[in-house]
Symmetry: D2
């Protein structure tokens, strides 16, 4: 009945804690499902809220034994336990990413942090520096890079299928802030439109960073400078709710980025198109299992996740066959799975598989710098502006 | 730090065993992910293979402590443990559903069984009778009924949005058996084209039952009789690999069902269209987050999972907002979640919420009877044939 | 200013007459536009109605000088004129196709006739015989065969790209007769649901013949037998308004055909899918500029009318570049253009270019026999039935 | 046989001449088909080329009796004929629009001119002034405004369905100049990339003007200023082949415009999206029969040309029912049909129906000024720039 000696048991699950994500939160539940899908994590502790009652209630809801109402207490106590958490998921509003992360990483606890990295650029730099010094694994959940067909797209770019990239067109259109939802007390709208908690960017920070990151991830390009025209369409709104950004890359490629939270009727319209001298690729997050390839001078074809013509990069983050759609949660789970590979390699003292890829501090810094540059450029009537890195 | 008394802890996770699903299997892994997504099950035992070495290896891979190489032994031993499994997932080839299920249900262990219910109709009837007598929860993973937009479609039919249904058009087109894959030793193709293990139907049993079930689930119609033209296009194939079926419902509605495993270039093309006197609905599994509604005399509109215009039936099986696609695994997980609600109600001795819905014995019997009727009809050159229930 | 002798003038426009198609008609206007698009016809005479007043009014509307209220008079008088019509377009209800056509073809006037060929099979046979004897060009406007991507599909089938065809799936779904429109006095519904004028088939004759013809045109297959289940869903309707048909081809291929005029929310949903051993093709009339090719074991690709990867068969009936959509009228015009090539070859006494292709008597006979066989099969509860040719 | 006195004959066809559009040209043939579709024009004269031999050959090809090799001669002589042309279609390269148009309009001959209005802004202003003084009908073939669903979209904007417009997103992506086609001698590429013939803009002039015009037509907005980043990706190219433009409207709305002739795999990708406070609309030229409406807080719906929910503005330029696709040529023909209504009203000395709408001098001036502003802005590193009108 017992496993025989000949069988090497799987690595034990990574003991995970969570900060934020209590009752009424959105992204916390997503992180928890993402952590469960591949069975590599076990959620054993949480500081789900700074309100003790709510923290405890959330822990009870979730069946999590060790509940804290202070993340600092959690960091300190867990670090002292033999069975303390090995990693922490940070799912707080943006301004609480850095303070929380610092508590854990200084104790050698790996960090999986929601995006953007921080609310401000100085914070981001400070956090990046501290994280690098601590040597922990630091994963930032730019989850859209977890989609298999995005991995496929990147692999094709790297293989030269597109030739030299000329154009990047990325957009992220939503409508959930088309009206002043923040005045209704809705929790998500409340903090995401509050510069003190969200940072200087609104739509640029919340979703523009995703779009920017995704374009960088796939294209491999480096931004030279940008020109931004940001708007706050909803009267009284304190952050941008729409952004139009032109981009120039160091390679000579050019790009357009559009992020909006006021595009009526748009749900989660993240779309990426990249065109090179030989071919283009087109992808839409709302139907993520397909990647269109548009060669110059040949018919366009559709790659299907798990299907013919896809390569290793997609295959290693794919669970089910072609035609069985994977979605947002699976893509998110891929970030967790990749981070787990890094954490387990660290635990085992071995080198991480070179194929492992997940967004981290570098991407986080770029994202916060992107928002900062957009705001500065827009403040100067669209002057071409470099990232302040 | 501990949960205060005021907080009612979540129900403890259902202790789950699994039969089948070891190394090299496909659907076992799907069941395991489905069981994990909502954190309501804990996989604690398995008879992953009848080969002891393989069983133990699979258990080690999965981190499952209690491994058996005999399902009968597992049923017997687990039933005696205080912490024994409360439910078993059966993910064996079709001919092994009934023998396995009987071992568990007679001991009061709930069963979550892959489809079709059994390989033969007599077996199905025997199993259904035994399961009814035992009183266990019996869930059959016709997983496509777990998709939120399928729930939405059913709710709209029930609410009369479509008026009186006239037409059902359901199809399930794949191509993975377009060539004699069974001769290559591929495990899935091997047993699925072997009548002794798969049953008398090939494509009709493997996917036709899904299509038939889905159409029934949404339409609420009852089949009167069918006329089938089954084919085995691949030379030497012992079961049908394509089926054309006409259907007449007791209400006077008519239908067409097409299932194929030789439709070159089709991946997992399950599509359902239903047209009534007032409106129609159209849905495709490969892009499952959308439901088209096609009213007579008004523009067609697209309902989006989690989006405006969707109702309670979809909402209760939805995890993430509109525009964040859910996929096959989430739909599958919904069957597990619904079964969990039934199991926990049983555990607690309370009535199950009336909204809970999952396929079970009735649907299983209908599916096996459908295959049986297709084979009989086709054998009589398409004579209109009733289900032998 | 005049054209120099060195320039060979284009052939003079074909002098065309029309029977039917007066005020309030639908298809007459379509024929006239189709005849104009490529500037190969000149409409010079018409018997637009049997009501003299209406005939004259229609002619005035259209700027047609020679107006008749009797098609027999028109045939007789035009045949005697030096500048009499060379061809006649027949756009009357079905029962008036044969009587009209006979008047013209016996005088050597070419015929372009709307489909189906006739209302009854005996009439069809009589007409076909007479037409063959007269030696005129006889074109039947199964206009969907005029779409360039349908030509492309046929060319690919002929070139063996699909391998051996196994499956044909064709459907034509509309909803305009979902309610008893014929009771409202609507002219189109009135005659199309009247067996005396439409023939024994309703949806089978009106649109099923198109679907059947299209599948034959592209696949090149020959029907062995069919099994039909026809319905008249609308109470009081005298002809079928929905048809479900299974098909067996002489090659061993199998097919499904669905035609409906009661599929709520469907406009003109003609779709063709054909799957062979090597690849499939998928095409939808409502977005006709694209043809999907679905190879076994390779990514599916989309051919675009006028675009890369398309061949001669499509190119010769294409007017504008890829991305500039052509539609229903252009496809219809291609039948007229092909017929013009035949007529001009006849006029010039030269052989017709072998690439010219348009539906004629053979296709017309098959269509009427198809309706006849559907009605007979359905009357015998779906007995497999051959075309009575 | 003759039309009775009671029947008012249709207006006689407008006698049309054409300048340009001889052998090897593209857009000339399009204009001719567009002029024929609704049977309102008769092409009776042409100066198809400045090469007499080619001019005469083209006339012979087309069956046009009066052929000229000089447009000035044609203007002079036709003006003197009793049966001289009433209107002229100008389909020359851009730099030849103004000189040609001036010859005709000063003789009171109506002008239908291809876009852009002229190659330079001073020319455009001069032409506009002269045309206004002459009082002729001047139609500019920004043909995409002829699509019924574009008319539908404009009607919905005007009716307030979208609320206050916040965002305009228009793009026009092609790939036909992704390589230095102009070096191959290809006629279209040759003049369209030559500033002397095309004007200072390349992609901005050739297709950016279409995009700009379409957005203005539907939105009804007035541009305040723009910021452009133009590129010439193909080495040696003398005009832009890609343009990124940000736009600010006087109402406070904002927009993005992308035009490209180097987007590999894109055919004729003109897409328009407009989002207001209440709803958005989305439309794609490559599938032009559908208009998506995306309300805030309600399901998105699809309007179909000719289908339920469409209004008068679309209906009056629609020829065939829903589901029977109309395309590029029909949309183009609508510009001709609208111009014909204006010309016939002028001929009859009556006021033009207020519903008639076609692009003319105002739109032409705006287009040329748009290109001019893009080039100036891009030359000043994207400085916000107003149209120099």
């Amino acid at each position: 009945m017992a496993t025989t000696a000949a069988h090497v048991a799987r690595p034990s699950r990574i003991r995970l804690g969570m900060v934020g994500g209590g009752r009424g939160a959105f992204i916390g539940a997503v992180h928890r499902i993402a952590a469960r899908i591949d069975d590599q994590y076990e959620l054993v502790a949480g500081a789900f809220s700074s309100d003790p009652e709510k923290a405890a209630g959330s822990a009870a809801d979730l069946g999590v034994a060790r509940s804290y109402s202070s993340f600092a207490e959690m960091a300190a106590k867990e670090a002292r336990r033999k069975d303390g958490i090995e990693a922490v998921a940070i799912v707080t509003p943006n301004h609480m990413h850095a303070p929380v992360a610092l508590q854990f990483l200084k104790r050698g606890i790996h960090v999986i942090c929601d995006k953007p990295l921080t609310a401000t650029l100085p914070e981001a730099k400070k956090l990046a520096k501290a994280a690098q010094e601590s040597g922990v694994v630091f994963a930032l959940t730019h989850n859209y890079t977890g989609y298999p067909m995005i991995r496929q797209a990147r692999e094709m770019v790297q293989a030269g299928i597109l030739g030299d990239i000329r154009l990047v067109n990325v957009e992220y259109a939503q409508d959930w802030l088309a009206e002043p939802l923040e005045n209704s007390g809705q929790k998500q709208a409340d903090w995401r439109t509050d510069p003190a908690r969200s940072g200087v960017g609104g739509s640029t920070g919340d979703i523009g960073t995703h779009a920017f990151n995704l374009a960088n991830f796939v294209s491999g390009l480096t931004l030279q400078e940008l020109s931004a025209d940001l708007q706050s369409f909803v009267p009284g709104r304190r952050v941008d709710d729409n952004g139009h950004v032109l981009m120039r890359y160091t390679s000579g490629a050019r790009g357009m980025l559009w992020c909006s939270q006021v595009a009526s009727g748009c749900e989660n319209g993240l779309k990426l198109r990249i065109y090179g001298t030989k071919a283009g690729i087109e992808w839409e997050q709302e139907n993520p299992n397909y990647l269109w390839v548009t060669p110059l001078g040949a018919p366009r074809y559709r790659l299907s996740r798990g299907g013919a013509g896809t390569g290793d990069a997609a295959a290693r983050v794919t669970r089910v066959p072609a035609g069985h759609p994977e979605g947002y949660l699976e893509g998110f789970a891929n970030i967790y799975a990749e981070a787990a590979r890094a954490i387990i390699a660290r635990r085992d003292g071995v080198a991480m598989d070179a194929a492992v890829s997940f967004p981290g501090l570098k991407e986080g810094l770029q994202g916060v710098a992107f928002v900062d540059a957009c705001v500065r450029s827009s403040g100067k009537n669209g002057a071409w502006t470099k990232l302040a890195l």
